[in-house]
């Protein structure tokens, strides 16, 4: 297994999350201060969606990279992230052309594939800490839709905290794995 390729996936994962966090922190605080700002730095719902789409595009690129790297290393489980990326791309395209129902079907498939991708990542990580963090993140990811379907919008705040926990775990897991791959090997 060529660990170098996965090293860059984990580095990329952390960088993308850091960039979006930085934009979020800067724009949210600057928006409410009375200094002139360029429009793109405003923390408005429109810009948040735009930022979300950019982050999503970057993440999908990273997952593609992960999938291709795994397949090239003769690990067929790499097809799971690739399928997920294709499904998300189709789903979002359908949303943009306002085909809500087919889009939702495809996005549900993409979500299941995302859980699969997390399982794949858990299986290929080399550090025990990272494996544990990715594992828990996978479980949270799988539970969120079930809880939301069961509890409806009343539990949206719990879902919110779960997702933040899941995201924080994935980020830390990636950093730990990047550390392991970069420093210890």
């Amino acid at each position: 297994m060529n660990v170098k390729s996965l090293f860059w996936f984990f580095v990329g994962f952390v960088f993308v999350n850091f960039a979006s966090s930085l934009w979020l922190l800067l724009s949210s605080v600057l928006t409410i201060t009375p200094i002139p700002l360029p429009y793109w730095l405003l923390y408005t719902p429109g810009n948040i969606v735009t930022a979300g789409i950019i982050v999503a595009a970057l993440m999908l690129a990273l997952y593609t990279y992960l999938g291709v790297a795994l397949v090239l290393n003769k690990m067929n489980r790499g097809f799971i992230p690739i399928t997920m990326v294709i499904a998300f791309t189709i789903g979002i395209t359908l949303l943009l052309v306002r085909q809500a129902i087919p889009a939702l079907v495809i996005l549900v498939i993409a979500y299941v594939m995302l859980i699969g991708t997390y399982i794949v990542i858990t299986s290929v990580t080399t550090s025990r800490t990272s494996k544990a963090l990715w594992g828990v993140a996978t479980i949270i990811l799988a539970l969120m839709p079930l809880i939301l379907i069961g509890g409806g919008l009343a539990v949206i705040n719990y879902i919110r905290y779960m997702a933040i926990t899941e995201q924080a775990m994935a980020i830390m897991a990636s950093a730990v794995e990047a550390w392991r791959l970069g420093v210890e090997q």
Partner: protein, 565 residues
């Protein structure tokens, strides 16, 4: 192959990861501003509401930002920003300045004066929302643009942010208004030198008309300091506010003298039924609907007013359901620019009609109007008043929907259904069994063409619109899941997509017509006053020979007819 920075990179990555996680946590506990609501204002503004822990050196309040849109370029631009607060009986001038941003803290003396007026009503703050009125004047060469913006807010939020009541995570602490001056789309005014006339003539409209009190609603509260700059010039705004206090109809039916003559014995039944939050929208002469200027919880049980033409009612008039003691205002805003040497210039003017106050959960039984009540005022008074006061009609043309007609033809009595089906039920009134033909208008939102504050943004709003659309179909779940995974910032959107819990629940108004016999000739039109006055109120207009306004042509969309008798 040699990796670049093999030792440093993992350390950097670990540091960045820790920072990212800290930011995620900080955001999740509202330690930094997090949007909890967003309102689009016409096509030229947006108000975003942020919950947050106190940010050092930034007082909670209203922040106005002005952007110039020219082609694809969007950039901050200096403009004259003028802010007013709506109070129950008038408007208070709060702040002004020439800049690309203007901050008006909640503890601004003039704003506190307006807030005090609301607090003195003694009504729980959760029962209603009021608004701020912001005018933006942008000048370029000899052209100028004046944008009116209405910014809804709740007095309770302000009191919480000021520490006067228990703080709460989920209420806005900062309100950010983005005004977009699109010079490609909005029509400018011409800047012209003028001679300022020092004496303002009283237009003599103040007094009592048809049960309404018309008064000067510029409250004599504290005034903001005049905005001066160096080299010496001044932006001199004038606002004339005509307040109209009286009853505000929610639904009415009007019948002409022709109906009285031709359709003796006809039974009319006007029923209304709803509970929930009602929004009253501000309307502008140049920009149309500006969004909600006032909203309150209102509750009307199923109520109906039933009577017989010819015996119980013998003259043309109206019957209406109404709120008592409501206030609405017509604000005419004009700006002059006064230079040291150059003298005064006229920058332009704009007019806004807005509801300031309606008592929450307050309504009055059906009442008749035979030419001197609020419905007559609607048809004849308000437009005349604004013409008299401002020299031109302040309000837009009406929207009339041709609804249904009973016609007597050589083939017998026919019912034409033009704008939806006309139902029928059986009713006993005055000991007589009638078939009651019912014209039912749907929910308040669809019937009035108004909706709860529209969620969305003007720029980059495409994706958001798609998301909102999916969410409103009640199938947001997988989408929210997806959003959860693309960045926590997106979470805030999930919150925005949840419809407000206070939306109207039961909302319908019905006009029933009974006693239809061979020979009945009756044309039913519907006037949607929200398009005219910004009021969620509409009326059924009954005529004997043609639809209201005698249209030369009309479309019968539903196009169904029923043989009667």
């Amino acid at each position: 192959m040699v990796w670049p920075m093999p030792r440093v990179l993992p350390v950097v990555v670990l540091a960045l990861a820790i920072v990212s996680v800290v930011v995620l946590v900080v955001n999740s506990i509202y330690a930094v501003p997090s949007p909890i609501s967003s309102v689009r204002i016409g096509g030229f503004g947006e108000a975003d509401y942020y919950a947050s822990q106190p940010i050092p050196n930034v007082s909670p309040g209203l922040l106005v930002r002005v952007f110039l849109i020219n082609g694809s370029s969007v950039k901050p631009v200096n403009a004259f920003i003028d802010v007013y607060a709506n109070a129950p009986s008038g408007i208070v001038h709060v702040a002004m300045g020439y800049s690309s941003t203007l901050i008006v803290p909640f503890n601004n003396t003039n704003w506190l004066y307006a807030l005090g007026k609301w607090a003195s009503l003694g009504i729980p703050f959760s029962e209603y929302n009021t608004s701020m009125l912001v005018f933006i004047t942008y000048i370029h060469g000899n052209e100028s643009w004046i944008l009116p913006l209405v910014i809804p807010y709740n007095v309770g939020w302000v009191y919480r942010a000021l520490g006067k009541s228990t703080p709460s995570d989920a209420t806005p602490r900062y309100i950010v208004v983005n005004a977009y001056i699109n010079v490609n789309e909005l029509r400018p005014s011409r800047v012209v030198p003028v001679r300022l006339n020092g004496t303002v003539t009283d237009p003599q409209v103040f007094g009592t008309y048809n049960g309404y009190t018309v008064y000067n609603c510029s409250l004599s509260g504290p005034q903001p300091e005049v905005y001066w700059s160096f080299p010496l010039y001044e932006f001199a705004p004038t606002s004339e506010c005509v307040g109209i206090n009286g009853s505000l109809p929610i639904a009415w039916a009007t019948w002409s003298s022709g109906v009285i003559q031709n359709d003796n014995g006809l039974v009319i039944d006007l029923s209304i039924d709803f509970s929930g939050t009602i929004n009253w929208d501000a309307m502008s002469t140049d920009y149309g609907d500006l969004g909600t200027s006032y909203s309150a919880s209102e509750n009307w049980g199923p109520q109906s007013a039933e009577f017989i033409l010819g015996s119980q009612v013998t003259q043309p008039g109206s019957v209406y359901w109404y709120y008592g003691g409501a206030t609405w205002a017509i604000v005419n805003y004009t700006v002059w620019y006064v230079g040291d040497i150059t003298g005064p210039y006229y920058m332009g003017t704009t007019t806004v009609s807005e509801v300031l106050y309606v008592p929450p959960n307050d309504y009055y039984a059906a009442t008749f109007d035979y030419g001197s009540g609020p419905i007559s005022m609607f048809y004849n008074g308000a437009i005349t008043l604004s013409e008299q006061y401002f020299g031109y009609p302040a309000l837009n043309a009406s929207t009339v929907v041709d609804y249904a007609a009973f016609e007597y033809t050589p083939y017998g009595e026919e019912l034409w259904e033009c704008n939806g089906p006309v139902g029928n039920t059986s009713t006993v009134f005055g000991g007589v069994q009638y078939t009651l033909y019912t014209v039912t208008l749907g929910g308040v939102n669809t019937a009035y063409g108004l909706s709860a504050a529209e969620i969305g943004t003007e720029l980059g709003g495409l994706a958001f619109d798609v998301l909102a659309e999916v969410a409103t179909e009640g199938e947001a779940t997988p989408l929210i899941e997806f959003l959860n995974n693309v960045g926590s910032a997106i979470f805030d959107i999930a919150g925005l997509l949840i419809p407000p819990s206070t939306s109207s629940s039961v909302t319908r108004t019905t006009l029933g017509i009974g006693g239809v016999t061979a020979g009945t000739s009756l044309y039913i039109s519907v006037i949607n006053a929200s398009a005219v006055y910004g009021l969620p109120t509409f009326g059924f207009i009954l005529n004997a020979t043609n639809y209201y306004g005698i249209p030369s042509s009309f479309t019968c969309k539903y196009n169904q007819w029923v043989q009667i008798g």
